[in-house]
Symmetry: C2
Subunit: 455 residues, 2 copies
């Protein structure tokens, strides 16, 4: 007999969970579409080649690889042996595993753009909502299959895109009732100028990586990391001064302007921030010069969205501008900017703040009880009529005690029980009971559609 369990880090989503997830996804999709982004879907599998080497050594290890089929077929045995030996030496080998599950949506998107560059209508605004897979160690809030939700525009360097994306964050979060969200914003150009001020471009990556960890490890450990990366005491002090800048958005920008006034890239970076702020009146934007974003491909404005104060949760979204999406696939000069929503985390935040509307789970309006063979056909015709009138409902399909039918309705969050015995059938009436209050009334059958529409 088969073992009845799910693989580690994998989840079934029951009806309530699917409905709540769909509420989030529908809200996000709707906003993407209002902004002119169009859907793209890529397959679960990519060629292993397409994925390997794109996420760093650690990422490579977390990619789920798919075993080629038919390896034990006599004609494949040699290939299989060679492939297995290579894999054990830590090399990829298409004769053992040609394919792998996608690890994020960005690389498959880049692959799609590279493959279809001749026919794509640039600027290309696409959104993508799909699962990805990572062989990470499962833990609370981290799963091996999870949904990513990305919007990118590629083929345009205009900052109007950044302003639009800030607006998308605002409209999604306020649409979900998360009015207290904060959208942190910074510009990698300023971090680049900071590196220049501290000795040169070769410090850019170590400085960025160190700053990115500030929240988790604190300023002292960041200073240690900077020293370890080769910064002098003066340079480390300079970075510390930068990281300690505080005040409101205007004050902080003024202080950075003074600190990095000799570096044209910093001035450019600040201008870009001002542009986005000026054109995003509604969004709750907080300029945060300590925001770095780990990924190396960001080159301009970067975003990170945080849950309302009081909810313990890391970032619930992030993104930024990159110069070169498809260079890895031999297609240069495709700049773009994109954002992402963390659906699983947003789910947890809405749950914690009790922000899911109660109506989500009440999609079935009525259960018509089974009261015996004599009235069954009459009842079945009635449910079919309700459905034709766009009312979700059920007919309990067989003879069981009424108590059991009430329990069934209750567990399924069905608000109304409709009871039609032979007497009611003959008089074209029915008894309708509201399960939450126990309130019961008799109405004419022809009025049921109206009654359920209004209640």
């Amino acid at each position: 007999m088969s073992k009845v369990s799910l693989p580690q880090g994998m989840r079934d989503f029951d009806a309530e969970t699917v409905q709540k997830r769909n509420y989030i996804l529908t809200t996000i999709r709707k906003v993407f579409e209002l902004n002119g982004y169009q859907p793209l879907e890529t397959p679960a599998m990519e060629n292993l080649d397409t994925l390997m080497g794109k996420y760093g050594d650690e990422g490579d290890k977390l990619i789920f690889k798919i075993l080629n089929n038919g390896l034990n077929d006599p004609k494949n045995i040699e290939k299989a042996n060679t492939g297995f030996a290579a894999m054990m030496e830590g090399k990829n080998n298409a004769s053992l595993t040609e394919r792998a599950l996608k690890y994020d949506l960005t690389i498959p998107f880049a692959r799609h753009v590279a493959m279809n560059r001749g026919t794509i209508n640039f600027p290309f605004k696409r959104y993508q909502v799909q699962p990805v897979w990572r062989a990470d160690r499962p833990q609370k809030g981290r799963y091996r299959e999870f949904t990513q939700c990305d919007a990118d525009v590629v083929g345009s360097k205009s900052l109007w895109n950044e302003a639009e994306l800030a607006g998308i964050y605002h409209n999604v979060f306020s649409g979900l009732g998360l009015n207290g969200y904060v959208l942190s914003i910074n510009n990698r150009k300023i971090l680049s100028a900071l590196a220049e001020a501290c000795g040169g471009a070769n410090f850019f990556i170590p400085i960025t990586i160190a700053i990115d960890k500030l929240d988790k490890i604190g300023i002292e450990k960041v200073q240690e990391a900077l020293v370890a990366a080769g910064l002098s005491a003066d340079q480390t002090d300079f970075v510390t001064k930068y990281l300690q800048i505080s005040g409101n958005n205007a004050e902080k920008m003024q202080l950075v302007q003074e600190l990095l006034k000799d570096f044209p890239e910093a001035i450019k970076g600040l201008e870009e921030l001002k542009f986005v702020l000026h054109n995003s009146h509604e969004a709750n934007i907080e300029v945060d010069f300590t925001l770095a974003r780990g990924l190396n491909y960001y080159t301009g404005i970067i975003f990170e969205a945080k849950a309302p104060a009081g909810v313990k949760m890391g970032s619930i979204g992030g993104g930024g501008r990159y110069d070169d999406l498809t260079g890895l696939f031999g297609v240069p000069d495709v700049p773009g900017v994109g954002i992402s929503f963390g659906v699983d985390r947003i789910y947890d935040v809405l749950e914690e703040l009790q922000l899911f509307p109660a109506s989500i789970e009440q999609n079935i309006k009525a259960l018509i009880f089974y009261m015996g063979e004599a009235s069954a056909e009459y009842c079945f015709k009635l449910v079919q009529k309700l459905r034709a009138n766009n009312i979700s409902c059920e007919f309990y399909p067989e003879q069981v005690k009424m108590d059991k039918q009430f329990k069934y309705a209750d567990k399924k969050n069905i608000p109304f029980a409709v009871i039609i015995g032979e007497k009611e059938m003959e008089t074209n009436t029915l008894n309708i009971k509201k399960l939450s209050t126990g309130e019961q009334q008799t109405i004419e059958t022809k009025d049921l559609v109206d009654f359920l529409d209004k209640n």
Copy 2:
């Protein structure tokens, strides 16, 4: 540089394709929900154990297996070698591949029911719309990743479920404009009686398999198969007589009743067919005694849906009643009935019959042109206002020739171009051009929302 291609049998879905697929899926989901079915989602991966041995030897070979991660880690080398050796001998081995991609939705559903039987509210009406993966040889209309779309009710033996499912077929197909669909129906109880009439229950499977191929191989080859299975000439003649029954539904049922009058199971099967026919007034049901359905687990009513006459396409849906969904996982007595829609095939049929509504692709209503830096902020505020009024629209994000902006709108099927230069900005007017006709007019900016809502 990475090879830029997709794995064999895998597809990217561009915006138009996603929108058309969503049109189908939304129609199906809507009907499922009207009928009280609720969504379930299971992960892409299952334990290999859960899947192997459920689909026959041929099926087992088509399951995509996932290589365990970290096999070349020194501590795993021995396990990896053992696992690889076992796999090469055709055995499954969890030390090489613990997991696999799901092959259909039925087995994961059975696994879910077995795991959650204590908390599930029976009769359990669930629907599931998810991709599955098979390492089949790709060919026209057959992909290695495709979407299945199932509705099942388990924990109920009532025939009202069958009547409801027939209604679901009708409402989905008529909702998609496929009014000429045909829903073939038969009962495995009648096939069982036929086997009994031909010498016994041990002929049930060979007879079913032979009949299932009738459409493809013709009556003579079916007869050969029956003889090869051990049926006598008389018995083969009897099956032939059964297969040649013709007429309208009532006439055919009458003829089967006469032919199999001595077999109570046939009489029971006919009664069930009559019940479903009687309670499915709307559905285009055709009783087809040659319908067999290949899968062995069906035990009662079986369905197969066909595209309207004139479209060359196999079945676009199918299903039936089974006695024991979860027996394989050690949980007996969970009878049920389910149906499935073939989304990829329905897509092809709608495309061939040109039944996709034109409105599907026109989701972005207007492109506001970029006419220079002076009016950009004004235009951006206007698009944000349109979006707040639920109108999908775009602001072209940078300075390019108008011709290029027209082409962009055209390729993206955007019906209206909105042009606001400095003069229009000062007078709060705008020029709006309908791209399909070239018709252009000047309106006040405050009237734009109304104009786009009405056009």
